[in-house]
């Protein structure tokens, strides 16, 4: 069958979807009596024109890179991991246990420990739904949704009854020791007379996220396992015929996905709050869905989409601060991006395919 050129598939369709989402968002802003152009200017100013704004944008982007990669890896095996939120919550628990109960001499070692803890706990939380999908055929979307709620309940219980310091009313763990404090961008990039990224939470975990992008790229396109995951996602029966075990690939892909989602908590829990709080994930697990869809499940696409959403998040916070537009505008934009790049993909794709076919016929 004739196809569109690849660049149209990778660049043009997401771009058109994004423009559609942006136009609709602008209409929403108009409908509530604000000026979309002024709002956009304010977002750009707040998120991109100052180093502190960038510090927030990149902080959010770090979270979204991890959760976006998590969803993307599962997508490659044709699974929809909607449980990133729960896996990230458990990842936070892993980080907290590592940070609170192991006396770390230096942050560079602590971040390695936290990474291991977050990945282990996140993967463990994805393991049961993966096993149920692989062995019992329980739909992974439903089980991971249920596991999100179970994770919230579990975390609530652990924070209130186990990790909460005596005498504290807050459902949160004790503060982590000073040695586990990760260097922020301010510590890293400021000079004596020029302080950069003032007050912003972006920290060294950002580079961990970039490393994760590169590793996932290598895994998916340069290793045997990645090939098996893609083959399985492309056609389960063909993969089975080629001797690839569906159970093994389902479980491994979900373990990797869960571990990546869990890693997000290194950024939020160790990098920012420096203790485990109740709602540390703040829906980033779900934003991973939008990021993976927009980035076409490619690590580089995820990287770009994560920065875009980081910008939206920080810009949205600025809007809420200076105008009457509540932060929920970002939720609407996020919904529209998921709708157009995910569910309504064919609405954009079908006319474009026809257009390209018509052009090609004329050239022949």
């Amino acid at each position: 069958m004739d196809k569109m050129p690849q660049w149209a598939d990778i660049v043009l369709i997401p771009l058109i979807s994004l423009i559609l989402a942006a136009v609709l968002s602008a209409l929403v802003i108009l409908a509530i009596g604000e000026n979309p152009v002024a709002a956009f200017k304010l977002m750009v100013e707040g998120a991109l024109m100052r180093s502190a704004g960038w510090g927030y944008t990149l902080y959010y982007a770090t979270n979204f890179m991890f959760t976006g990669l998590a969803v993307a890896v599962a997508f490659h095996a044709r699974m929809f991991n909607i449980g990133g939120e729960g896996q990230a919550m458990l990842g936070g628990l892993g980080v907290a246990l590592v940070a609170l109960y192991i006396p770390w001499p230096h942050w560079s070692l602590a971040i390695l420990g936290a990474t291991a803890g977050a990945a282990l706990f996140g993967a463990a939380w994805a393991y049961i739904p993966a096993l149920l999908q692989a062995k019992r055929g329980s739909h992974i979307v439903i089980t991971t949704i249920m596991f999100n709620f179970i994770a919230a309940g579990l975390l609530n219980y652990v924070l209130v009854n186990v990790l909460r310091p005596k005498g504290s009313m807050d459902p949160a763990s004790a503060n982590f020791p000073d040695a586990t404090k990760l260097p922020t961008f301010r510590d890293m990039f400021s000079t004596a007379d020029n302080i950069m990224f003032r007050g912003a939470p972006a920290n060294v975990t950002f580079f961990l996220a970039i490393a994760a992008c590169v590793l996932v790229w290598y895994l998916i396109w340069r290793t045997r396992l990645g090939y098996e995951i893609r083959a399985f996602g492309f056609s389960e029966s063909a993969a089975r015929y080629a001797g690839i075990s569906p159970v093994r690939i389902t479980v491994i892909a979900m373990l990797i996905s869960g571990a990546l989602a869990g890693l997000m908590s290194v950024n939020t829990t160790m990098g920012e709050s420096e203790r485990l709080v109740m709602n540390s994930t703040e829906g980033a697990g779900f934003i991973g869905i939008a990021v993976a869809l927009m980035g076409r499940s490619h690590p580089f696409g995820v990287f770009l989409a994560a920065i875009l959403f980081g910008f939206l998040y920080q810009g949205g916070a600025e809007l809420a601060l200076w105008t009457n537009i509540p932060r929920e505008l970002i939720v609407v934009i996020q919904a529209l991006v998921i709708l157009f790049t995910g569910a309504l993909d064919n609405m954009v794709r079908m006319p474009l395919e026809k257009l390209f076919l018509a052009l090609r016929r004329r050239n022949v």
């Binding site: 019992r136 329980s138 249920m146 939720v331 993909d345």
Partner: protein
């Protein structure tokens, strides 16, 4: 625990089970026709806001109900477009609808009422109020049966009775009408329905629309009967509990009634008692909160009474070309 407490807990069970039941039946129509719907939550939320807002503005709760249903139907149409017409991923569409509702309701609420994303509290006449069934005063003093009738069965809002009546109605529609037969067939084997000359697309749109109406009633119940007004995120995961109840019920109407009553009962217990002490052993309230989800996972895993979804669920239908 004395008799009156039991009656009170059961009464609160009925109240809390009603939105679950309506949403569960909504999902039942949709999923029986082969359209997965994880957007129940969003549709309820949108309906809750618009019903409360319109009821507040017009003073008529019935207009509010209509507005709630209309808003839920708009989201249903989006879901239908995405999953039927454009053959997109139904799960992703559901996720998008949930976020759309979560964002739009707060955005519009802030614009209309400036109260931080909520509607003003509804006055009594703009709500669905409890109705007393005939004779409830007279028999109230009869031991055992009297309180059961006057406290538990009587004294709910009209929507509760509508929800209960929707169960036999759904059973009748699904199993005793031609439409129901075709609806179930389209969820199992759409190609066969198509071969018989019946429109797969038409049937699936019909199912998605019925789903929208029921979610609309469920949302309106939350904001105009269970509570007096809309607050941000007021559905609080009920759409997903309804989804769990639907699986628990194995996609059947009468079982849906029992499973939503069970989950409503769990909610009522968690609301009334915090931690439950059984001798030396304490059941934490968080465990009661997540019990519906754990039960659903167990059922899904198929260790006890396996749940098998409609066969063509989640797959867009492509006519042979």
């Amino acid at each position: 625990m004395d008799f009156l407490t039991i009656i009170q807990v059961l009464d609160s069970t009925v109240r809390l089970a009603t939105p679950l039941l309506l949403a569960c039946l909504a999902g039942l129509y949709s999923e029986r026709a082969g359209i997965f719907d994880i957007g129940l939550e969003g549709k309820m939320l949108a309906a809750a806001f618009f019903s409360a807002a319109v009821a507040y503005a017009t003073g008529s709760v019935w207009l509010g109900l209509l507005a709630g249903i209309a808003s839920s139907l708009v989201l249903s149409i989006i879901h239908g477009l995405a999953s039927i017409t454009f053959r997109g991923n139904q799960l992703i569409s559901g996720v998008a609808i949930n976020f759309l509702a979560a964002g739009i309701t707060v955005l519009v609420a802030q614009d209309w009422f400036q109260q931080g994303g909520r509607t003003p509290s509804l006055p009594r006449e703009a709500r669905f109020n409890p109705i007393d069934l005939p004779l409830s005063e007279t028999v109230a003093d009869v031991p055992i049966l009297g309180p059961i009738y006057s406290e538990l069965i009587s004294g709910h809002s009209i929507l509760v009775y509508i929800a209960v009546l929707a169960v036999p109605l759904t059973w009748w529609v699904l199993y005793r009408t031609r439409f129901g037969l075709r609806l179930r067939a389209v969820g199992e084997n759409p190609a066969a329905v198509d071969t018989a000359g019946v429109s797969v697309i038409g049937l699936r749109y019909a199912a998605v629309m019925i789903c929208g109406v029921l979610c609309g009633i469920a949302g309106a119940y939350l904001a105009t009967a269970l509570q007096a007004g809309f607050v941000k995120d007021m559905t609080a995961g009920r759409g997903f509990i309804a989804l769990a109840a639907l699986i628990f019920a194995k996609w059947r109407p009468w079982y849906a009634l029992w499973s939503t009553l069970l989950f409503g009962f769990l909610q009522a217990i968690a609301l009334r008692y915090q931690n439950i002490e059984l001798g030396n052993f304490v059941i934490p309230v968080q465990f009661m909160d997540v019990l519906p989800y754990i039960l659903t996972v167990v059922i899904l895993a198929g260790f006890v009474g396996r749940a098998i979804p409609p066969r063509a669920g989640g797959e867009p239908y492509v006519k042979e070309r």
